[in-house]
């Protein structure tokens, strides 16, 4: 299912997202059909574990054991958000240097992005991470 390099290829558990590690890039899987919904880049999700006490109230409410999930597509011009700044614990987009704070609902903290990185509420069910609703905001850039 996930041919290629550096891919996990199984359903993600909280243990796959350890503290202090850079984000994991994931795609959703439909729980009933088992179809991996990787047909669109807009479905890619970044998972990272942060200290629960660092999360703001809303962010925490949408997290599971400190694991937060965000759209992996920049709201500026739609690039993959692939850079993790470990010291500041921020996502950074390699295309135009937009930065987002995953502790504060994906707030823009640098660069040209016009709006937050949409957060995906998550919870843990039967030991795996599942989405607990839709993205908060529309993933990707806004075609003008």
């Amino acid at each position: 299912m996930f041919a290629g390099f550096e891919r996990i290829g199984h359903v993600i558990t909280p243990g796959d997202v350890p503290a202090g590690k850079p984000p994991l890039l994931a795609y959703p899987i439909d729980p009933s059909s088992r179809v991996v919904r990787d047909g669109s880049r807009l479905n890619q999700v970044l998972l990272v574990r942060l200290a629960v006490e660092d999360l703001d109230e809303d962010t925490r409410a949408r997290s599971a054991d400190g694991v937060v999930a965000y759209s992996g597509v920049c709201t500026h011009t739609g690039c993959d958000v692939t850079v993790w700044q470990a010291e500041t614990r921020r996502f950074r987009c390699p295309c135009h240097e937009s930065e987002f704070d995953p502790r504060d609902r994906g707030r823009v903290v640098g660069g040209p992005a016009p709006r937050r990185l949409p957060q995906l509420p998550v919870k843990v069910v039967d030991g795996v991470i599942v989405a607990d609703g839709a993205f908060i905001g529309r993933p990707g850039f806004q075609p003008g």
Binding site: V11, P23, P143
Partner: protein, 598 residues
């Protein structure tokens, strides 16, 4: 920077709901209620677009020899001069230049396209693949085309560099790698042809080159491991006419300069409009760097990357090439098409190709039907990589300690943006000078990383955090405009700017030079003979647009788009990081049209 790249581990996530698609709220299509207001004066036509009432078809003859009042293509003429013969605006009256009209494009990001004008009708392309047709004299909007771009598109370079004109059509190369043809009078879409799959990393930002019934385009995507090519389409139907890859397949000439499968993802993108010599029937295209960036991961010269290639306009057959530098490892795309001009050398007139390279050398080559010969080259900015050039072929030798490799940080000058990036230089036959928008006092470093190719993903051969830039100690400026006498091979004057400079250059029959390019939002005019500043106007945003000049009803105008973004913005970010500063250059595009105040 303290960045670490995310592990590209793709697992799966159980979701309880569909993602993305269900989130869109309903958009109302109902307009606001309107009421008719009676007015004493004739109602302005601003709210409705009527199209053009008449249009002069663009013929091959007109493209080869355009009327002085028109600007029919990217650099106005096939030779790539960026020169308007108009001389009503001159060194005496340019101080009285004022805006005649402006027009907000409604979009942000890098506005780089020239206002292209055919007998009083102006065509301007903007980021997000919008085309505006305007009455060039009044600024009245005639029609607007806006492409619906795919939602999953990612735009590393959110820009467009202009339209092409032919007969009664307007051509646009799109960010999702299509070419569309529009009716010049109405903006109606006439055909839409897929050139490549944007999901594989192909995209287009250049203005099409149109000649002899063909629309010619090249592809971007060198940062995503594409295999570059130039594609020609039939101007009337959009049917493919020819396609020439810039990276040869095994067995083809030049394939011996690639190892294994590296050619499949070899890059050598073509993202700037070619020039054209109608006598030789050859189109000349500049090509980008090999992909990914680290030369040691794709050993060989890597033809035809970082080269100029001569393609037959009818068949696309490659008749000649010259590689400026082999096995690029600096991200020095050599995409600017060469300027076709005569150069004197030892009492001989050479039909030349002149190219101020991103590699920091100013190249003079000789063009012939079946060959491109090396004449000479010299650095126009500080360059620490080339130790010497072969006097016969121009092939450089490298200081290997300045050539980036995998797993080692290597410094070099100029930076990866080069002495000059894409903004076009200009040639003025009256002053005899070549004008180069350059950046000096910037060096760079790269630390190479080996990473497998993944289709449609950024594939640089380095981590973002390992792209370094430094400003030379004690330097007072970065941006420059350099004027060169190509007959003597000497620099004759230079203006400097504290800001970096990303301003394409226009020069005119009265010996003026126009350019923006700096972060202070100014559009400026200089005396082309001396470099003396004669006029400036502060615009809405920073200018990285190609300026043009045209005339309607006997009045000369100068036009340019102001709208900062893309690499000028990126370089600003890099400079701000070095200086601990935060420079706010406002975004948002505006078309400016200037004339002498009456």
């Amino acid at each position: 920077m303290t960045t670490a790249r995310a592990v590209v581990a793709i697992g799966s996530l159980l979701v309880a709901t569909t993602v993305a698609a269900t989130l869109l709220g309903g958009c109302t299509t109902q307009g606001m209620g309107t009421s008719t207001v009676s007015m004493a004066q004739p109602a302005p036509r601003a709210r409705t677009t009527t199209g053009a009432t008449s249009y002069t078809p663009v013929t091959d003859q007109r493209l080869v020899s355009p009327e002085a009042e028109n600007w029919l293509m990217y650099r106005r003429t096939y030779d790539g001069w960026g020169y308007s013969p108009l001389e009503q605006i001159n060194t005496g009256n340019v101080k009285d230049l004022v805006p005649v009209w402006t027009f907000s494009t409604g979009v942000a990001e890098g506005h780089q396209a020239p206002p292209i004008v055919n007998n009083g009708i102006m065509f301007v392309s903007t980021p997000q693949n919008q085309v505006l047709a305007l009455d060039a004299k009044s600024g009245e909007l005639l029609w607007r085309y806006k492409r619906e771009l795919p939602e999953d598109l990612f735009q590393l370079h959110p820009t467009n560099r202009g339209v092409g004109l032919y007969e009664d059509k307007v051509y646009l190369a799109t960010l999702d790698a299509h070419v569309v043809a529009l009716d010049a009078k109405t903006g109606k879409l006439l055909w839409d042809r897929t050139v490549e799959d944007y999901k594989k990393g192909y995209y287009m930002t250049l203005a099409p080159l149109v000649a002899k019934g063909k629309v010619m385009v090249g592809v971007s995507g060198g940062e995503l491991g594409i295999r570059g090519f130039v594609q020609a389409l039939d101007a009337r139907t959009g049917a493919p006419a020819w396609k020439t890859f810039t990276v040869p397949a095994p067995g083809e000439p030049g394939s011996e300069t690639w190892k294994g499968d590296s050619w499949k993802t070899g890059g050598a993108s073509v993202w700037i409009t070619g020039s054209f010599d109608p006598q030789l029937n050859l189109t000349y295209w500049g090509t980008g760097n090999g992909a990914q960036w680290m030369g040691d991961q794709r050993p060989g010269d890597n033809l035809y990357s970082t080269s100029v290639i001569a393609l037959d306009a009818d068949t696309g057959k490659m008749r000649a090439f010259h590689q400026y530098h082999w096995n690029d490892s600096w991200d020095w795309d050599e995409v600017s098409a060469p300027i076709l001009m005569d150069v004197q050398r030892g009492g001989r007139t050479i039909k030349s190709l002149v190219h101020p390279g991103r590699n920091g050398y100013l190249w003079v080559l000789e063009r012939k039907a079946d060959a491109i010969g090396f004449v000479d080259a010299k650095p126009y900015v500080k360059q620490t990589v080339f130790t010497k050039l072969d006097p016969r072929t121009g092939r450089p030798e490298y200081d290997e300690t300045k050539k980036p490799v995998t797993n080692k940080k290597i410094p070099f000058c100029p930076s990866l943006w080069g002495g000059k990036d894409w903004p076009p230089a200009a040639y003025n036959p009256k002053t005899g000078y070549l004008y180069i928008p350059s950046n000096e006092n910037l060096c760079g470093s790269l630390l190479g990383t080996a990473k497998p190719y993944e289709e449609g993903k950024l594939w640089l051969g380095t981590e973002i955090k390992d792209i370094g830039m430094v400003v030379a100690d004690g330097s007072k400026h970065i941006g420059e405009i350099q004027a060169w006498d190509m007959n003597t091979g000497q620099k004759v004057w230079m203006r400097t700017f504290e800001s970096h400079n990303w301003g394409p250059i226009l020069t005119t029959g009265s010996g003026l030079v126009f350019a923006g390019g700096t972060n202070d939002r100014y559009f400026r005019a200089f005396d082309g003979k001396t470099g003396e500043p004669l006029w400036q106007w502060r615009t809405n945003s920073g200018i990285t647009g190609v300026p043009s000049s045209f005339a309607v009803d006997g009045v000369q105008y100068v036009a340019v788009q102001s709208g900062w973004g893309v690499d000028a913005q990126r370089m600003q970010g890099a400079l701000d990081d070095i200086r601990g500063a935060k420079t706010d250059v406002p975004q948002g595009g505006v078309i400016w049209v200037f004339a002498v105040k009456r």
